[in-house]
């Protein structure tokens, strides 16, 4: 048993975060497995298990499938593919490595992108015999989108092309040009044969024309370009309270260091204060640096909460609510403009929507194509609107405040990862200017409270009938009302829209915006619209003030609605004459917690209208 030698080793570089990317079968897992094995870093028991597996699966004597060291899931070994990222940790004499071995299949792009997002260097494999594939280009584009600061092209399987220099150069040249176009700061190329172990640890005698270092030597000496240092910012993760009267803001410092007494500004509110205390772990410290997890206390009582940013006052972050951004769509359900998502940026979460897809990028040619929706694996430039102004920075300048996720509001799934490019409109004045005459004033003169009554339900459930009766009752009682009927609006305002999911979202958005304007004018608005998707109704609701939006679920079993069928639509839909007909060949998602549920199969429409009226009068006596 030997002890750790006391002599100091050669200066070591900080650990390197690598992602190994590239197309299926280009040799990613083989490269990593072989590298670990050659470095003597595969534990003996795992090595024996691998040899046994190679024998069991009938490989020729002496041949080893290094890829199996990394494919950790049963399905991966059975199918011989990588499904999800395998994280590997190893250290050589010179450096510690954190490696993401990424899947190459297009279907698993979201997993590959997960492995890539934190990489300081992407090792992009290419099979020299097969050449550049669609996935090679996709991965390079995603590396650029995610701001990976360096790419190493590892041109693999050189044994299959006779270790040819011409072939190597012919593969590298166009990729180097593309990398420049994508503004990837640094791109290098190294020829290897991973399975044979050529040019991995030591320069290979079979590649005498390659003057550069071996792959490992390159990795061991690769210097990560330092991120541009800005002033200090702390995204507040948590407000900590402790006795006696301790109130501190916990988060991780980014951008730069901070010291006691530094002047800071809280964003988005714009309040100023000074740093009164800095804690790191168990100790109070005079200063802390970027990357430190700290707790800050401010000199003045300030209203600071999770998601706020405490920034150096001399160089604060900008605040805005509309952005131009680039993103990678990840979800099986397509991205639709107008749908509402959660936007996650630093420690903040706000409601947001994509207002416009400017164009999507064709993976191979880089062409900009018009798009009304995005499918999984597609990259696009688009416009994004947050529900309120938020502190941010362009991704290229400060990644921690320009990187964001979009999250599905129903399932909680992460559906996109993106980068803010710039703000479309800066919220120069963070506080909203109150308009002198508000909705309340306009409503007061009518002696009523503005409301949006949103009738949703299957076609032929009775929405329009009930809304109609209710409006007559309200009118008779002296209320100012307006009825917006989905069918009627399609003849005018929405006549350019069809029934595809995108068009339905836009249809609902327009109706909701019109209803909102009418509420601002002080009216009681009755909307009668199938509006089958919860997310869309949530979007409509979010436009209104608390209590203003009343979701009325006109609830009938599908059989009942179909039997009524006054316009003969169900019959047509079943005959295949109407595509996307809700209740027949398109789903209806019933509300989970409507303000009012009307049992429309059991009671006559007059009773139902009375129920809604009772609800309204209860809350708003004249």
């Amino acid at each position: 048993m030997s002890a750790v030698p006391a002599s100091p080793p050669a200066p070591a570089l900080p650990p390197l975060r690598l992602a190994i990317i590239g197309s299926v079968d280009d040799g990613k897992s083989t490269l990593l497995g072989r590298l670990l094995a050659d470095c003597g870093l595969v534990p003996e028991d795992q090595w024996q298990a691998l040899l046994a597996e190679c024998r069991r699966r009938g490989l020729p004597e002496g041949e080893i499938e290094y890829a199996w060291l990394n494919d950790g899931l049963e399905a991966e070994r059975e199918q011989g593919i990588t499904i999800d990222v395998a994280w590997r940790y190893f250290r050589t004499a010179r450096r510690v490595f954190i490696v993401a071995d990424c899947p190459g299949h297009e279907q698993y792009t979201r997993n590959m992108a997960s492995g890539l997002s934190r990489a300081e260097l992407a090792v992009l494999l290419i099979d020299a015999s097969r050449g550049v594939t669609r996935q090679t280009l996709r991965h390079l584009r995603i590396a650029a989108l995610f701001g990976v600061p360096g790419v190493l092209l590892a041109v693999n399987k050189m044994d299959r092309v006779g270790f040819s220099r011409e072939r190597f150069e012919e593969l590298v040249a166009p990729l180097a040009a593309l990398a420049r176009e994508l503004r990837i700061p640094r791109l290098e190329a190294i020829p290897i044969a991973a399975r044979e172990g050529e040019n991995l640890l030591r320069p290979s005698a079979r590649l005498p024309w390659h003057g550069g270092p071996s792959l490992l030597a390159f990795l061991e000496s690769y210097r990560v370009p330092p991120p541009a240092r800005e002033a200090a910012r702390l995204a507040v993760s948590l407000v900590l309270r402790a006795e006696p009267e301790f109130r501190g803001y916990a988060g991780t410092l980014a951008g730069g260091g901070i010291a006691l007494g530094d002047e800071v500004v809280v964003l988005p509110s714009g309040q100023r204060s000074r740093v009164a205390e800095i804690r790191r772990g168990f100790a109070a410290v005079p200063r802390a640096g970027a990357g430190d997890a700290v707790v800050l206390r401010l000199a003045d009582e300030r209203d600071v909460g999770r998601g706020d940013v405490i920034a150096a006052a001399r160089a604060p972050l900008a605040v805005a609510d509309q952005f131009a951004a680039q993103l990678l769509w990840l979800d099986e359900e397509p991205l639709l403009p107008g749908r509402r998502y959660w936007l996650r940026l630093a420690t903040l979460e706000v409601g947001a929507q994509v207002t416009e897809i400017r164009h999507r990028i064709e993976i191979e040619s880089g062409q900009r194509l018009a798009a009304r929706r995005l499918e999984a694996g597609e990259i696009a430039h688009l416009h994004l609107a947050a529900d309120r102004p938020i502190p941010f920075a362009p991704f290229a300048e400060e990644r921690p405040f320009g990187a964001f996720l979009l999250v599905d509001r129903e399932r909680g799934a992460t559906v996109a990862a993106g980068a803010i490019e710039y703000a479309l409109r800066r919220a120069t004045n963070v506080h909203w200017q109150p308009v002198a005459l508000g909705a309340e004033a306009r409503a007061r003169i009518k002696g009523q409270r503005p409301r949006c009554l949103w009738f949703t339900g299957l076609p032929a459930a009775g929405k329009s009938t009930v809304a109609d009766l209710l409006e007559q009752r309200l009118h008779a009682l002296g209320y100012h009302t307006m009825l917006l009927d989905g069918d009627n609006l399609r003849h005018g305002l929405n006549r350019d829209l069809g029934f595809t999911p995108e068009d339905r979202v836009e249809n609902i958005r327009r109706v909701a915006e019109v209803a909102r304007l009418m509420c601002e004018a002080g009216l009681i608005v009755l909307v009668s619209l199938v509006s089958p998707y919860r997310a869309d109704r949530a979007m409509a609701r979010s436009l209104f003030r608390a209590g203003e939006f009343v979701e009325v679920f006109v609830d009938v079993p599908p059989e009942v609605a179909a039997a009524r069928d006054p316009k003969g639509l169900y019959a047509k839909a079943r005959a295949g004459l109407i595509p996307n007909f809700t209740g027949v060949n398109a789903p209806y998602e019933p509300p989970e917690a409507p303000e009012i549920r009307l049992p429309a199969a059991e009671e006559p429409p007059e009773r139902l209208a009375e129920r809604v009226l009772a609800y309204l009068l209860e809350g708003s006596p004249r």
Binding site: A3, P11, P43, I64, R91, V96, A293, R306, T414
Partner: protein, 318 residues
């Protein structure tokens, strides 16, 4: 070319040169783990820290204290007790909880205990299924925890190498490795769909060596079983088992005294010891640098079948 000839000699010749960078690396790992703790505390309604008394749990607890200091850890600790831990582990657990004033919940699968489930009669697989996996599911449901923070590391085992930091569990605590939620940068999405809960792994990027270097740097106390000492051992199914209590003594062969220690601790009949003289942290770390074996080699529960860890995880294991 065969594999053997190019392999570098393992051990001290290749390893300690990176030591100088280690301190900065530990700082970064610490800060990242603290970020994960704080995000978990902020995003979940009712998180819990899974405390299993081993070295990883000791580090996890230390990091949790740092993450929230000077406030208290804002969630309880949960120990899933199989009834077969080493006596030194129970003593350590109770003392740590008392000294630090922690809220500790101990959960036993009472139904399993009543059936007399144990590792020797029923085998590692069934014992683990009933007394750990099933017990954990019970405890999470009983207390309504929506997130369980654990000390698993990706370098432990190859299905763990695939884990996210915030790892979604579907209804019934099931892990679906084919359908993991993607994860980007430091952005942790704690939103849950219907029936889902979260597992949270702040030590994802730590290696076994990082854990020991951090234990040494921070002066973290660990169970003495990690250090070499003469202990009563028996050979059992190819492993060195330390007899910890008199239950089932008749099942084993002759007992002898050997200098051994553990790399990984679990139920004593399932934890294989290694022969070692490393009785200090420095000696242990030196031995670790030179080791040619993986950490879990001593664990009998992993040897049942080729992909057993993945199966257990899919069923809701830690």
């Amino acid at each position: 070319m065969s594999a053997g000839d190019a392999r570098r000699e393992p051990g001290t010749a290749t390893i300690p040169a990176a030591m100088k960078a280690d301190d900065a690396h530990l700082d970064r790992l610490e800060a990242e783990a603290i970020h994960v703790f704080r995000e978990a505390a902020a995003q979940f309604r009712q998180p819990v820290l899974l405390y299993s008394i081993g070295k990883d749990s000791s580090v996890l607890l230390h990091l949790a204290r740092k993450a929230f200091h000077p406030a208290r850890i804002p969630f309880p600790l949960l120990h899933i007790d199989t009834g077969w831990k080493f006596r030194e582990m129970y003593a350590f657990r109770d003392r740590v909880a008392r000294e630090l004033g922690l809220r500790l919940i101990v959960h036993v699968n009472e139904e399993g205990r009543a059936r007399g489930i144990n590792p020797l009669d029923h085998g590692a697989a069934l014992h683990t299924e009933v007394m750990k996996t099933e017990a954990l599911r019970q405890a999470l449901a009983l207390h309504g925890f929506d997130a369980a923070i654990g000390g698993a590391r990706r370098d432990e085992e190859r299905s763990r190498a695939k884990e996210r930091v915030f790892s979604v569990r579907h209804a019934g605590q099931r892990w679906d490795p084919r359908r993991q939620r993607p994860e980007f940068w430091e952005l942790l999405n704690g939103r849950l769909g219907p029936g889902e809960t979260m597992r949270v792994f702040p030590l994802s990027d730590w290696t076994e060596l990082d854990v020991w270097l951090y234990v040494r740097r921070e002066g973290i106390e660990v169970v003495p079983l990690y250090f070499a000492k003469e202990r009563p051992v028996v050979e059992h199914q190819g492993a060195l088992i330390v007899l910890d209590d008199p239950r089932f003594a008749d099942r084993f062969g002759p007992v002898r005294l050997e200098r051994v220690r553990f790399r990984s601790l679990g139920c004593w009949p399932l934890s294989g010891a290694i022969r070692s003289d490393a009785d200090t942290l420095d000696a242990l770390i030196a031995e670790q640098f030179a080791s040619r074996h993986s950490e879990r080699q001593g664990r009998l529960i992993d040897h049942d079948e080729a992909a057993s860890m993945e199966r257990k995880k899919r069923e809701g294991y830690f």
